[in-house]
């Protein structure tokens, strides 16, 4: 169960520049959107009190966020967009995937570079100014993700100046892939970008969404603080693929909260390839019966990368199914962290929940910290988790070598097979192919 923040050495003090940037934003919104200004003000006071979690905080035990407090980040403002062109946006597309691309540059939608003219039928895309009065937006934006227990959500809430909203109408069957590309474009000084995305798939709707993260330009380090809120309405089906391609100066702290209603279906895949420090908090609430959900993840790390995946599957109602598979290949001096929690509430009888985390360490300096966690308060359930950390299977390697395949090739083949397992479950064939290519590129350039 998430705990409220405490102050016994578990937090670093809130950095001043963030607070100042938020105060400016509150002043901006006060006249036009008093409701949002109030929300920001509340988040500001929460963040001011809580600061940034330290490694003494149980949920951040293995991930050191102190660089966030020592680096002098400037928070991106509306003046930081329109550096990218349509061509830059096109470079972020996946080959062979028919997608409506939305480029979010330094936290704000770059309208010129996005496919706003070819938004598929049944889908509405817009900013707070355009869609802020929609009931779904009032109900869910800034309210699903919890600022009380998550300091970095509070930070995002007070600083995300231009949230992007995607509404999929009831029973709309959207074939075109919705691709939201988040690009951080730093200049010469460290840049903090707060991105916020709300996706509401209404009753019976179906859609496929790609959320990709990029750094464009190597000028300075970046901190992307991303919050995504997703509502999967009753009977809705959402495929959600998140790909992180950022560069070695990038830090990405993202929080994804999903609220699922009865009879809905969701398939989530998180692929982490880039970034110096990445934290993915994925928080699913299954708030209805007969929900099916899959959460898969893959991280392929080298160099000095630190990647932390924290997932929570909250079974709040009976008769639901969740299946989780996270895999990692860790090379160089990289560190992998996985914390998966399955939480079955007292009334959630007949829950089936599975979780598996498998890791391969390729180098002497690589490390992996895993904490698969079950908290079960109902008795008629089937829950299991498994976690392994080891090396490639020597017997498989021998089998391949006995058939005349060189050691390097054999290892590459086995690594590929291990990792592709996760990607193979992506249901959209075009995206699956594209991700396999991206994966192969990373695997063949893996640095020890």
């Amino acid at each position: 169960m998430p705990e409220a923040m405490s102050k016994n050495g578990q937090h670093h003090p809130a950095p001043r520049p963030f607070l100042e940037a938020a105060e400016t934003l509150v002043r901006r919104d006060e006249g036009s959107m008093p409701r949002v200004a109030d929300i920001r003000r509340k988040a500001l006071s929460q963040f001011e009190q809580s600061g940034i979690p330290s490694t003494r905080h149980e949920e951040w035990k293995y991930l050191d966020l102190s660089p966030l407090t020592t680096t002098d980040f400037r928070t991106a403002t509306p003046d930081d967009i329109r550096k990218l062109s349509k061509a830059d946006a096109d470079a972020l597309r996946h080959d062979g995937v028919d997608a409506c691309l939305l480029l979010v540059e330094n936290g704000s939608l770059n309208r010129d570079a996005s496919d706003l003219k070819s938004v598929p039928a049944g889908v509405r895309i817009g900013s707070l100014a355009e869609l802020g009065t929609e009931p779904a937006v009032i109900d869910h934006l800034f309210s699903l993700a919890d600022t009380h227990t998550e300091a970095l959500v509070a930070l995002n809430t007070m600083l995300s100046y231009d949230p992007l909203i995607i509404l999929v109408e009831a029973n709309a069957q959207v074939e075109t892939v919705l691709h939201v590309a988040f690009a951080a474009v730093p200049e010469s000084s460290p840049l903090n970008v707060c991105t916020r995305l709300l996706v509401v798939a209404a009753t019976g709707a179906s859609c496929t969404l790609i959320e990709s993260y990029h750094t464009i330009g190597e000028g300075a380090s970046t901190l992307t603080n991303a919050v995504t809120e997703t509502v999967v309405g009753s009977g809705a089906r959402v495929h959600h693929i998140k790909v992180q391609h950022e560069n070695s100066l990038a830090r990405n702290i993202s929080y994804h909260k999903v609220h699922m209603a009865g009879d809905s279906y969701q398939h989530l895949t998180t692929l982490t390839l880039g970034g110096a420090l990445v934290r993915n908090t994925l928080n699913l609430r299954l708030d209805g019966q007969q929900i099916n959900t899959y959460l898969n993840g893959l991280y392929v790390l080298d160099g000095d990368q630190v990647v932390d995946n924290h997932t929570l599957v909250d079974h709040a109602q009976p008769n639901c199914y969740s299946s989780e598979l996270y895999k990692g290949i860790i090379s160089g001096r990289a560190q992998g962290i996985f914390n998966g929690k399955i939480w079955v509430r007292p009334d959630a009888q007949k829950t089936n929940a599975y979780q598996s985390n498998k890791n391969i360490l390729l180098s002497d300096e690589a490390s992996m910290n895993t904490k698969p966690q079950l908290e079960i308060y109902a008795d008629d359930v089937k829950c299991s988790h498994g976690a392994t950390t080891g090396q490639l299977d020597e017997e498989s390697l021998f089998y391949l070598r006995a058939r005349g395949i060189g050691e390097a090739t054999a290892r590459a083949l086995l690594n590929q097979a291990f990792a592709a397992d996760v990607i193979a479950q992506v249901e959209h064939p075009g995206i699956r192919e594209a991700l396999l290519q991206v994966l192969d590129r990373k695997l063949s350039n893996l640095q020890s």
């Binding site: 016994n8 149980e58 007292p346 009888q349 890791n359 360490l361 390729l362 180098s363 002497d364 690589a366 490390s367 992996m368 910290n369 895993t370 904490k371 698969p372 966690q373 079950l374 908290e375 079960i376 308060y377 109902a378 008795d379 008629d380 359930v381 089937k382 829950c383 299991s384 988790h385 498994g386 976690a387 392994t388 950390t389 080891g390 090396q391």
Partner: protein, 481 residues
């Protein structure tokens, strides 16, 4: 079937049968904790200066510490000034033979079914019995002494083998380790001490029986086991306490040192008073147990059956320092009614080719909460370390909880770490299968649960295994149907 029926009979008719209070006169220290109490205890035990210094250092360190709050348990705040830190049976400080033992104490142990009488030699168990805070009787000392084995109360060891005590005390669990180990280091009153010399295989099971008797007291015992090169010992620990409405604190420390090629097997059947059905009373069992495999090819094995205590909070751990050393942890933790248990282990792999096995079986019934919390850490230099963990939870009833918090930290690529956990209830199909064959539902549950725990019970010495099975049945009482 008859055995099972008997168990069931016990089950349906029994309460906490160890809940009597013995009428033994005891000498208590005043309530509360300060430097004077620490000095008082030390003076009572006639301790050497260095030990008093050590206690005081621990006490001063403890004063600067705050109570840990991280376990997944809830309990009323403990008032550390409202506890009597030293309570000793008044009579017979030194005993020459069994006849001199206070008849009340003897009767107490008879009721507990402990073979204090040497005639029960066939049982092959040497017992050190600790009531409240003081060790009252150690059996078979002479037989053991012939082989060079030292098995005595801790306070005797302090006087007779000060070098050994001084060398090893706090070497595995330093007083700075945690809140309760600091508290224990400051106020521990007695416990057992055991030393097995080089190459000696201890011919019998060594056993300590702990009993809290007086009201308002805490029990803070300290056990130190040292197995020198090539030695072997199997050690048993059992515990009970009277039924009382108040909560009593038990904060023990157990340290095990296993040298090259030595093998220590430590078994516990923990049956402190768990409180009544509404969670009133019961023991707070906050224990630090840790062993170190100091030498190559050494081995430490923990087996525990946890059925008692209102709140249990313990993690018997092994530091695998020597190359090729082995650590094992087998546990059955049963919680019923309002009991809470947060238990598990830590396996710290430092040496090369070290291996560890963890098998944990949790059973929760009633409104209880049962957590497994474990750490497997593979250090950078632990080449080819191997770990396998399995933690299963069984839920009986819809108001209880079962939780798993495993931490796997791997910093060596040649390591293999595997963790598996499942949570489920006793299968309806399994019960149906038994019913169909004329086995009643209650019998069936007993059968299934016993089968589920078999893997752990098999690790226990014979006598204990029987006791454990009975305990299990009693703990499950009223949880079916």
């Amino acid at each position: 079937m008859s055995d099972d029926l008997k168990i069931l009979d016990d089950v349906t008719n029994s309460d906490y049968k160890w809940g009597f209070v013995s009428n033994i006169e005891s000498e208590n220290a005043p309530k509360g904790l300060n430097e004077d109490i620490v000095r008082y205890i030390s003076a009572k035990k006639n301790e050497p200066e260095w030990l008093l210094e050590w206690r005081l250092k621990a006490f001063r360190h403890w004063q600067g510490m705050t109570e840990p709050k991280w376990p997944n348990v809830q309990y009323a705040e403990i008032d550390f000034q409202d506890i009597i830190y030293y309570s000793a049976p008044k009579k017979n400080v030194t005993l020459n033979s069994l006849d001199e033992l206070d008849p009340e104490i003897k009767a107490t142990f008879d009721k507990l079914g402990i073979s204090l009488d040497e005639q029960k030699r066939l049982a092959g168990v040497a017992v050190d019995a600790v009531i409240d805070s003081v060790s009252v009787k150690t059996t078979f000392r002479e037989t053991l002494a012939e082989m060079g084995i030292i098995f005595c109360s801790f306070s005797e060891a302090v006087h007779e083998h000060p070098d050994l005590v001084r060398k090893y005390l706090g070497s595995v669990v330093p007083y700075t380790d945690n809140f309760y180990s600091a508290l224990n280091s400051a106020v521990f009153s007695d416990g057992s001490f055991c030393y097995i010399p080089k190459g000696v295989r201890c011919p019998m099971e060594l056993s300590t029986y702990f009993r809290i008797n007086s009201a308002g007291t805490g029990q803070f015992e300290r056990t130190l086991i040292i197995a020198d090169e090539g030695a072997y010992v199997s050690y048993l620990e059992g515990c009970t306490a009277p039924m009382r409405d108040e909560n009593q604190l038990h904060a023990a420390v157990v340290e095990i040192v296993s040298h090259t090629d030595a093998n220590v097997k430590y078994s516990t059947v923990q049956n402190w008073y768990p409180g009544d059905k509404d969670g009133k009373g019961g023991i707070y069992n906050f224990v630090t147990k840790r062993g170190i495999c100091l030498g190559d090819r050494s081995r430490i094995s923990w087996t525990q059956v946890e059925t008692g205590s209102a709140v249990t909070w313990k993690y018997p751990s092994v530091i695998l320092k020597g190359d090729h050393s082995i650590g094992e942890f087998y546990s059955v933790a049963v919680t019923n009614n309002m009991q809470q248990a947060d238990t598990g282990t830590k396996m710290i792999h430092i040496g090369r080719n070290t291996r560890s096995t963890i098998v944990s079986k949790g059973i929760s019934c009633g409104r209880s909460q049962n957590s497994y919390r474990g750490l497997v850490r593979i250090g950078k230099k632990a080449e080819h370390a191997r770990n396998f963990s399995q933690c299963d939870s069984l839920l009986i009833g819809d108001k209880c909880g079962a939780h798993t918090f495993p931490y796997l930290e791997v910093a060596n690529k040649t390591a293999r770490v595997e963790h598996e956990a499942t949570t489920s209830k006793v299968g309806e199909d399994q019960i149906f299968y038994c019913n169909q064959r004329g086995i009643s539902t209650e019998d069936a549950v007993n059968l299934i649960v016993n089968g589920y725990c078999k893997e752990v019970f098999n690790q226990l010495p014979m006598e204990f295994a029987v006791e454990a099975q009975k305990l299990l049945a009693i703990s499950l009482e009223g949880s079916v149907g």
